[in-house]
Assembly symmetry: C2
Amino acid sequence: MNEESTLKLNGKLWIELDGVKLIGPGRVELLERIQLCNSIRQAALQMKMSYRQAWQLVDQMNANLRSPVVLLHRGGKGGGHAELTDYGLEVIEKFNLFFEKFHSFIAENTPLIDL
Amino acid sequence: MNEESTLKLNGKLWIELDGVKLIGPGRVELLERIQLCNSIRQAALQMKMSYRQAWQLVDQMNANLRSPVVLLHRGGKGGGHAELTDYGLEVIEKFNLFFEKFHSFIAENTPLIDL
């Protein structure tokens, strides 16, 4: 083993419904970007994701959570826009809280590897 | 959302070296099975994995950790056998400890989802 290399703990965290991943860091980033630019298309572009894929992720959350996370306002100037609901903001906040706790878990346990 | 469905936290945990995953639940299960049957081939079969794949996973751990996890004794009756080193046993024990803590993290935080 390289002298400068050290073993690190790492992992992934998500929220699932009936065994299907529903909320993870990628989806939360998508929601955050939709919140910032009020556009699924722009958020998808920023994440190098197709519009179709971004729309499907949003639609999956809207359909499976107890309340929609994004409202779509079609038509009007600029061709409609997307808006986070209060519940969507709560989803972001709650997931980021778990994600921070998970990062703390990783950071606290990595020094204990000692292998 | 289905009345009987509930959101659950879930995730993955692994130990990596220079950003490359080196020890995870699958590899630890492989080591545990090698320990039980003293054979990489048998362990691979049990895990529905090719011998080549199992050998590569073992070889990657042997080559990158500070000490080998499995010793291969070639030839002899039955065509040689594989044996966990003390260090290999320590790797299993340590990872399982982290994995238990991670499961506790998931179990403690799941009731807090409340979304």
